[in-house]
Subunit: 147 residues, 2 copies
Amino acid sequence: MNRPPRKPINSRFLRTLVGYNARRASLQIMGVFIQRMAPLDLRPVDFSVLCLIGHNPGITSREICRELHLLAPNLVRLLARLDQRALVRRQAHPEDGRAVGLSLSEGGQALLAQAECEVAALEVDVTADLSDAERAQLIALLQRVYR
Amino acid sequence: MNRPPRKPINSRFLRTLVGYNARRASLQIMGVFIQRMAPLDLRPVDFSVLCLIGHNPGITSREICRELHLLAPNLVRLLARLDQRALVRRQAHPEDGRAVGLSLSEGGQALLAQAECEVAALEVDVTADLSDAERAQLIALLQRVYR
DNA sequence: TATTGTTATACTCTATAACTATA
DNA sequence: TATAGTTATAGAGTATAACAATA
């Protein structure tokens, strides 16, 4: 009946680390993302790729990999799944015969629009304790770490 | 000879997301962590566990799992490795016969001290573009996301 | 009956080498 | 010779179910 008395754990050193806190926050948000986006069948990385293709019609696999720090072999299956769901189109690249230009089908565009809407909403929810200014500042600080 | 002209990619939507930026920053820092801590043979999660044991002698597996959001089966191998390296000691828990109290050996304490020093240094390096105040603010904002 | 620690295991994610076709 | 895309695959990380010992 009684909850076991939780001993307070000393995690002071870990809490002073940007790396530790960034990872914990990232995992927290990704967990919410996976749950909320399950109806659309989109993992975080699927969404990121769909988003890049949608806003950069004709983009190549290589460019996606460079932008998202993905490895080319791991993008193949992901794109195959999006292709199988008829969300993306592949067309011959106009200048480079080796490359393939990617763009969204109409269904892909519709799904992206819906996904962006849902992602924007869950972002607000998961950062509910932050004001708009604080949220913007958090993003700016994070970008100065990884850019 | 000429670098291929890099087309600017539109990733504006992704960049507005705390989740995307937190993940990118986290991966960036973890990459540096893994490289710099390789001489000590400590991954981020190894360090976190070592740190908790060091600052909480007698802590149990269950408490570590709860504090770090780890799953118990995945902690078994990790602790076995630390044990094999003679970094941790296991003693019977004074109150609960099922549990095992964990603490650091002298070697474990020495390694932790060295590791904390190195981690503090790499944290400063990886956030070199941030002032102390900005770094503290970044941490405070991140904690308000996941706590 | 519930909890700690454990084993076994499946699934996913990440990384590397090597191939093809084009440049 | 170098690059885009692909295949196959190995290794690491993450997840669930089930068990023994203890509460």
